[in-house]
Symmetry: C2
Subunit: 568 residues, 2 copies
Amino acid sequence: MRLLFEREVEPLASRPGPGKLQFIPLGGLGEIGKNLALLVVNQDIILIDAGLAFPEEDMPGIDIVLPDITYLIENKEHVRGIFLTHGHEDHIGALPYILRQINVPVYGAPLTMGMVEMKLQEHQVTLHPKSRAVTPGEVVRAGVFSVEFFRVNHSIPDATGLIIRNPVGTVVHTGDFKFDQTPVDGRVAEFHKLAQVGQEGVLLLLSDSTNAERPGYTPSEKTVGKMLDSIIERAEGRVIVASFASQVHRVRQVVEAAVRHGRRVAVVGRSMENVVQKAIDLGYLDFPAGTWIDVDEANKLPAHQVVIVSTGSQGEPMSALTRMSTADHRKVTILAGDTVIISATAIPGNEKYVARTVDNLYRLGAQVVYGREAGIHVSGHACQEELKLMLNLVRPQFFVPVHGEYRHLVHHAQLARDVGIDPSHILIGENGTVFEFTKTTGAIVGQVQSGKVLVDGMGVGDVGNIVLRDRKQLSNDGILIVVVGMDAQSGLMVTGPDIVSRGFVYVRESEALLDEARQRVKTALTAMEGNNLSEWSAIKSQVRDTLGRFLWERTKRRPMILPIIIEV
Amino acid sequence: MRLLFEREVEPLASRPGPGKLQFIPLGGLGEIGKNLALLVVNQDIILIDAGLAFPEEDMPGIDIVLPDITYLIENKEHVRGIFLTHGHEDHIGALPYILRQINVPVYGAPLTMGMVEMKLQEHQVTLHPKSRAVTPGEVVRAGVFSVEFFRVNHSIPDATGLIIRNPVGTVVHTGDFKFDQTPVDGRVAEFHKLAQVGQEGVLLLLSDSTNAERPGYTPSEKTVGKMLDSIIERAEGRVIVASFASQVHRVRQVVEAAVRHGRRVAVVGRSMENVVQKAIDLGYLDFPAGTWIDVDEANKLPAHQVVIVSTGSQGEPMSALTRMSTADHRKVTILAGDTVIISATAIPGNEKYVARTVDNLYRLGAQVVYGREAGIHVSGHACQEELKLMLNLVRPQFFVPVHGEYRHLVHHAQLARDVGIDPSHILIGENGTVFEFTKTTGAIVGQVQSGKVLVDGMGVGDVGNIVLRDRKQLSNDGILIVVVGMDAQSGLMVTGPDIVSRGFVYVRESEALLDEARQRVKTALTAMEGNNLSEWSAIKSQVRDTLGRFLWERTKRRPMILPIIIEV
């Protein structure tokens, strides 16, 4: 496999000397997504998470984005293991690509490893045989590191943080977390362990910055359960609940409410079916006998006995709920009297898709429950008071905010100052930053290569800036192809110029414009005939210039112009 | 000028018979944007607003979107005038295009007409000589209609609603409004007039649905002034305030705060400069002598004496603030110690651009004040309690919610039911819906053509679904052009096939792939030689099929494939 990189940066940082620890994020700082970081002590490296990101709006045609792992590959013989904090795509999604290049043991909590197995199967990649599911509380040794998983709360079961002991000093990585005082599974985040390690002394805290802008506390997942229950109780027709597939606790609360109110539950959408099945297999979810029914069966039941759990909470074009909203789902037809609950918040960039889905569901006559104020969703990330609690429990010597766009890191740093951490011990960096610590010092000491590797179809890294620039130009104004047949000996134009366009104008309506364009090119090229043209580049420039100027003047557009010269 | 239309719909509705009034929105219902509606009685039509919309994310290369006005054009001899409620683009932006086709008198409040003049000058369109600025309270006669403008509050001065008296019954159109009890210019919305017309009897209310999802009241613009004042007071360095150019009251409050705290004000960004100048000329804004300074002058003053008012509150790529945030502005360099206030809310779809601007400003060391919770912006639209107040004041027989996406209309209809309007008198429709009323009845009676006319550069309507579909395909996977020279007589391939690609893969890295693709095409075409190919379409299909299959298999991508056959 070949990897091409988006940007070439400074030379590689040298690995830390004795008594030093480096923290090197290759993803997740200055962005939400593709979390991946190295911890380096002496000859040993461990990875924390291996996630992907979803493409930005300026990456047409791109399916997913991976972190650039050049630095990792160049140091691959030192990598002792990959530690996963939880099973979300932005923490495990790059694994299939990374394991093809460095096959090291992978460790994570049971559901996390379950999600990993599903993903690796799909990609036909096998885990290193030493990989294993780790129960929170267990300690895994990897080189000089001993890594202890501790339980946190998040929007997926089995979310963990890591206490990473090593000769330089203890590092605490929170993973994605919040403190839920009344979690659905009864498993409160391990305050005692955090308090204890804070007591023992922590060199460095790496903490989730996603909600660092938001004051207060994130409400408990159970508040959502109560609201869902009351909506399902009052609904006279079917209830359709859209959520993230990995939100197993949400699904659990829907199932419990359904059972309480005499309804059965159909599960719709491939990822939802897969994750629900995996969660049942691993004991994270329970459907009382007869509760889980097929959609066909649901369609035969009276409406007030049915709940449907579905994908599509982000308005994703191909998802089950979106298809329902456009009356395009194979098995579920939205009817007046249905209640649709969109139990999620739109991820930035998806707001318009969700809004469109809501509009379309209303057009079909459904009742729709959605939006921040409806009480049907809570964040999976800690707000400011929880972040401060984490800082106060762990009491680190040094603090690096992670997992956030730049403004989130800035706000999180401010919270650290607010709770009294020495401002000179709070370090803000971005992907590729090399943070280096001794037992008493901490500083940014360099920068290694980092960036984006774009995946388009089966191609990993074969779409880069030039291809994207072309795609953007093509999408803005289309393309004109100008074909000219030239006699190589005489330098005379034999056929053409012919012009073919795509994505520029309705050809049928713009014949006159294209005719005139052809004439302009012809005149320009005829004027060049007889000159000794040893190669065609002068002709190509002439075509581009003449046509570009003419079209700008007439249309104020700049389509791509592609001259093709055929020797005949 | 040629207009092509996005969709062909049902035949034109016939105009209403005697004693009937029709309301026909051609834009603004089921969307936010391109507001334009017809009121029809007997032989007379008046237009309410003539706005544009901004392109959706699935309209690459499109600059603006106009309403399809086919129905209007076909009835143009009956149009008696265009009544503008206020000067925002989504209410006046289509005027230059419409006036080129139906040159009728335009009426609006003074600032509205000032904005119109600026716009028409740019487009070199002149107003019908009977057009004029109308002071709220004045009545304009147009055919059977007599139209009285009344003052409302909104995020631009001189926002008005319309009381439209006619033989069938009084229609009240709110325009975009909120009720600001303490407006910056002291001009409270005209409650008394609304109460009075409600007393007299109103047949139909058409009311702004933008914030129909939001409970409570929209806070007064003055609350923003207080917050801006306190930020400017506390700031030790420069303060840069980004806002919409048309938010003249916001600018006024910034200027007042600047003066109070011994600062002078520079204005940056072309549209901001134009609107500020126009507002000063018309008496809506006042800079005390010496307060408005040039940016160059500002750059020479101590930082604590400077406020900069700027465009770019939506993170628009070419705007002043965005350029500052990427250290790319010609005259303003962001420094540590600067305070940047983004005094606006991101319009749906712009969230990521605004977030990126904030991140970049932080990277440059600025303090940034932004977001819903910061108290530095309020909406210009009425929330639920204000919408109910409007309904209760006007007490219409019939109610049609306007100005909103479908879900907003649904919520607004619910508010009308909540205040006791007969549910059968509440009608929800979308663009093109024909609402017909008599003195006692109201119903949806038909549908006229409506839709989107896309403007790309100088082309109005010459980009439609096919061109957009091509642009989307081009942007997702690029294009491969396959050039083959054929001998027309023999049907033998003489040159090629040659393959040129753009936006597909890095060519340098994918030579082997493209070589193999060429071989595949060659083999397929060679197999066809000797067949009697009277035309080239079979060859073209063969190229598309062979190459399409091969590339999908190898790359899981579907680039556009364009075979070009040259007769040689």
